[in-house]
């Protein structure tokens, strides 16, 4: 049997439409992620990134369009997809009154792993995410960075083939970001497909092999990073992003209640 083009895609979503009341969050979105890619999913706030992830993970159903993930129809067979996909949502709804170790073991059991295997993987992941010293503490006592790392560990506990990460670098310090970055690199090396939404374009530039930029629920462009850079004659994803998205200029911003602007006491650095 000849493999269809979508067999090479970890995610193949076409014409996604999602409305919340009168608000259209996704407006015919197409999203294609090749297997093994590290896909940076970029867009301004409210563009529809989190909604698309919610659709991919089955939190919401699409009003129109199709979603195939790892070759499986995600709308018709969500359980089959969930067994093979890991998710780190933007809003971390962790169970606060479980310890880190309990939380990971619970997640593993929900994926059908037996007790010993669940415990062993929990220990390994706690170590990998540098949380072993807090394994016995309640999640409510974790810092933001620790929660993010724990959520990532939970998303990996069933060895998913595809991991969706919604803003994993949001509000965390450099050290935690470093741990996460290395973990993502390691996953990418092992052939795991990664979809990452982030506003930190520098991270996307350093990690991503593919990228897609959306605005107002529509995909503006997507493809391998090298192709995008070539197509828009840019040296970075940030520059591509600025070209595709109408970035509001703040050069002429004025605060009238400050009065007339005197010469700055300390000269400002000019942007590079």
């Amino acid at each position: 049997m000849t493999p269809s083009p979508s067999d090479d895609l970890a995610v193949d979503a076409r014409g996604l439409l999602k409305r919340f009341g009168g608000f259209t969050a996704l407006n015919g979105l197409d999203l294609q992620i090749p297997k093994g890619a590290f896909y940076a999913y970029l867009g301004p706030n409210g563009a529809g990134k989190s909604t698309s992830i919610a659709l991919l993970t089955g939190v919401y159903g699409p009003d129109a369009g199709t979603i195939r993930m790892l070759g499986v129809d995600a709308v018709k067979k969500p359980m089959e997809v969930k067994r093979r996909v890991g998710v780190v949502p933007e809003e971390l709804s962790l169970f606060e009154r479980l310890t880190g170790r309990q939380y990971l073991t619970f997640c593993a059991r929900m994926y059908g792993l037996d007790g010993d295997e669940a415990a062993a993987r929990a220990t390994e992941l706690l170590e990998l995410t540098e949380l072993t010293y807090k394994a016995g503490s309640l999640v409510s006592e974790y810092s933001k960075g620790m929660r993010r790392r724990l959520a990532i560990a939970a998303a990996l506990i069933h060895a998913p083939e595809l991991v969706l990460l919604d803003e994993p670098f949001e509000g965390i310090d450099v050290l935690a970001a470093g741990v996460i970055r290395e973990l993502l690199r390691e996953l990418s090396r092992r052939g795991v497909t990664l979809l990452l939404t982030t506003h930190v374009l520098e991270i996307a530039d350093r990690l991503a092999t593919h990228a897609g930029i959306i605005q107002a629920g529509r995909m503006l462009d997507q493809g391998p990073v090298s192709s995008l850079l070539q197509r828009y004659d840019c040296s970075s994803l940030e520059a591509v992003f600025e070209k595709l998205i109408a970035v509001p200029s703040s050069r002429n911003a004025r605060l009238s209640f400050y009065g007339e602007a005197p010469a700055p006491v300390v000269p400002l650095r000019e942007p590079a």
């Binding site: 919340f20 009341g21 009168g22 608000f23 969050a25 409210g46 909604t51 919610a54 993970t57 089955g58 939190v59 919401y60 969500p78 359980m79 969930k82 067994r83 093979r84 996909v85 890991g86 998710v87 949502p89 809003e91 971390l92 709804s93 169970f95 009154r97 479980l98 310890t99 309990q102 619970f106 997640c107 059991r109 929900m110 994926y111 059908g112 792993l113 037996d114 309640l138 409510s140 933001k144 929660r147 939970a154 998303a155 069933h158 060895a159 083939e161």
Partner: protein, 551 residues
């Protein structure tokens, strides 16, 4: 790579029950599991008492020898257990965080299975042990006296009854959170209350003439046909199928009992289906708030505040007004009053308390209305502020003013609530003298300062974050809840004491003055405690910030 199979229903059930169990065990302060187990046992202890009481009652000779009383008691307990279980989400304004589907979105479990499994798992909570204890005791007492045709069928009936209660409790819970999530929840609830009021006015209140007869001529004057009719009627509504089914087993009519079991299953399934539809509706609508247009009602009250303190007061008032939990709680005393009238509860109180009945009832409802507002929001006064508390700390203002503003708004809301309830009672029931109203309101004036004083210290010593979104169930530590209940009880004591002194003759102006004097004393206590609380607030600001800004 070979992957383990998706867990089956019973494995999911076991996992979700285990989750609740572990969360329960970790609920104590610090890591004290012993304290958590102790709290669990303490909170379920009343269940043991109720269970034993009804077990013994069913074995009493006059009950055993009667052809009516065992069935009446069983069917009544079925109805009461069902009603309490179903209305609990409303009364407690509790939201079960296991209904937050997005928490489980990543796992290979369908929303329907999640609903069923978490509903069944919820049957093993401490409150279940208390609520089911009377019926369980009565059923066991009944079974110990009357040999049943097939005890296993009795167990099946019991399990199905529990499922029926759980399913319709979910319906109530999801209906409530759906309404509260609506932008116009205040209008919907107000309209619903009005519709309920109108509908209730068409239902004739329960005939309580038997109370008067028993009061005048003793128990022998009781017309047993009333009890028989009540037992039959209660046995014909779905919750009564369990009690009636037990009776059928005792009468060796297994087919009828089997039909009752099927009836329970049928109505439980309908409940689950409705609950599922409501849950999915809630879930689907929790994504985006709607079109990004300027709200026509987006008035800005801060434009006209004169001082920094009035700005703080205005913010607190807005926050309370927009809190869906406050709206829900505010409706409860009115619903209780309507139910009281429908069930002719006032007649019962008049029979028991004579001329004091209206003062007790009006006072009770007013205090309840005031306490649910004042207590819920004052015992964790910074809980809803979240990052806003950090903004208070960063702003050039005295943190003491924030606490004072909160106290003023919560106190005023509680008093306003009590006043509304008193007026409603007077108009709706058509009873209640000026003295009764004065006693009720003076009682509230007495309770509120004590709640505020206690709430201030509880907020400082047991700070936790609350979510206004209704998606999460936020629990105050059990110790804090207990201490607040103690404070409310202390605050109510002058009222109870004055009415007890008044006896069946009813309260006089002297009673009202007595309560008002105690209220004055409570105000002095509040004023005296406030500087201490403010000093403590200054010392505990970092602990509070940490608690209310956590993720």
């Amino acid at each position: 790579m070979s992957r383990p199979a998706v867990p089956g229903f019973f494995r999911h059930l076991w996992l979700l029950w285990g989750l609740r169990f572990n969360i329960g065990l970790n609920q104590g302060p610090g890591k004290s599991r012993l304290l958590a187990v102790g709290s669990f046992l303490a909170s379920s202890a009343p269940g043991v008492f109720f269970g034993l009481f009804f077990f013994a009652l069913m074995r009493l000779k006059p009950v055993v020898e009667s052809d009516v009383w065992p069935y009446f008691i069983l069917n009544l307990l079925c109805f009461v257990t069902f009603s309490v279980w179903v209305t609990w989400p409303l009364l407690s304004a509790g939201v079960d965080d296991h209904s937050e589907l997005s928490r489980y979105a990543a796992f290979p479990i369908s929303p329907f299975r999640l609903l069923i499994a978490s509903t069944v798992a919820s049957l093993f909570e401490p409150r279940a042990l208390v609520f089911y204890a009377p019926l369980t005791g009565a059923a066991l007492g009944f079974a110990s006296v009357y040999p049943l045709w097939a005890p296993w069928l009795a167990v099946v009936l019991y399990v199905l009854f529990a499922l029926l209660c759980a399913a319709w409790s979910r319906v109530a819970l999801y209906a409530v959170i759906n309404v509260l999530r609506e932008k116009r929840s205040a209008e919907i609830m107000g309209g619903g209350l009005l519709a309920f009021l109108v509908a209730a006015s068409f239902i004739p209140p329960i005939d309580t003439s038997w109370l008067t007869a028993v009061g005048e001529d003793g128990v022998d004057a009781l017309d047993m046909s009333l009890i028989i009719n009540a037992a039959v009627a209660l046995g014909r509504v779905p919750p009564g199928f369990f009690g009636d089914g037990l009776g059928q087993l005792a009468w060796y009519r297994p087919r009828v009992a089997m039909a009752e079991a099927l009836g329970l299953l049928f109505f439980a399934a309908i409940g689950m289906a409705v609950a599922y539809a409501l849950l999915m509706r809630f879930h689907r609508q929790s994504g985006r708030a709607g079109p990004q247009q300027k709200d026509a009602k987006d008035k800005n009250p801060f434009e006209r505040t004169r001082t920094r303190f009035t700005t703080l007061v205005t913010r607190e008032a807005l926050d309370l007004w927009r809190n869906p939990r406050a709206r829900l709680l505010a409706s409860v005393p009115f619903i209780l009053a309507i139910l009281l009238k429908l069930l002719s509860g006032r007649d019962l109180f008049v029979f028991l308390l004579g001329g004091s009945a209206d003062a007790w009832l009006m006072g009770g409802l007013c205090i309840y209305g005031a306490v649910v507002i004042a207590s819920t929001f004052s015992q964790n006064t910074f809980a809803y502020d979240g990052q806003g508390f950090a903004a208070f700390l960063a702003a050039p203002l005295d943190l003491a003013d924030v606490l004072r503003a909160k106290n003023q708004v919560q106190g005023a809301a509680a008093l306003g609530m009590a006043l509304l309830v008193a007026v409603f009672y007077r108009v709706y029931f058509g009873f209640g003298t000026a003295v009764d109203i004065a006693c009720a309101l003076a009682a509230v004036v007495g309770v509120v300062p004590i709640l505020m004083a206690a709430g201030n210290f509880l907020s400082l010593y047991f700070p936790v974050k609350f979510h206004a979104s209704l998606k999460r169930r936020d629990k105050v530590p059990l110790t804090a809840s207990m201490l607040d209940i103690v404070a409310a009880s202390v605050g109510c004591m002058p009222f109870g004491w004055a009415l007890k002194l008044a006896g069946k003759d009813g309260p006089t102006w002297q009673s009202a003055v007595m309560i008002a004097l105690c209220a004055g004393l409570n105000l002095v206590i509040y004023r005296g405690s406030l500087p201490l609380a403010l000093r403590l607030l200054d010392r505990r600001r970092e602990a509070i910030l940490q608690a209310v800004t956590r993720e």
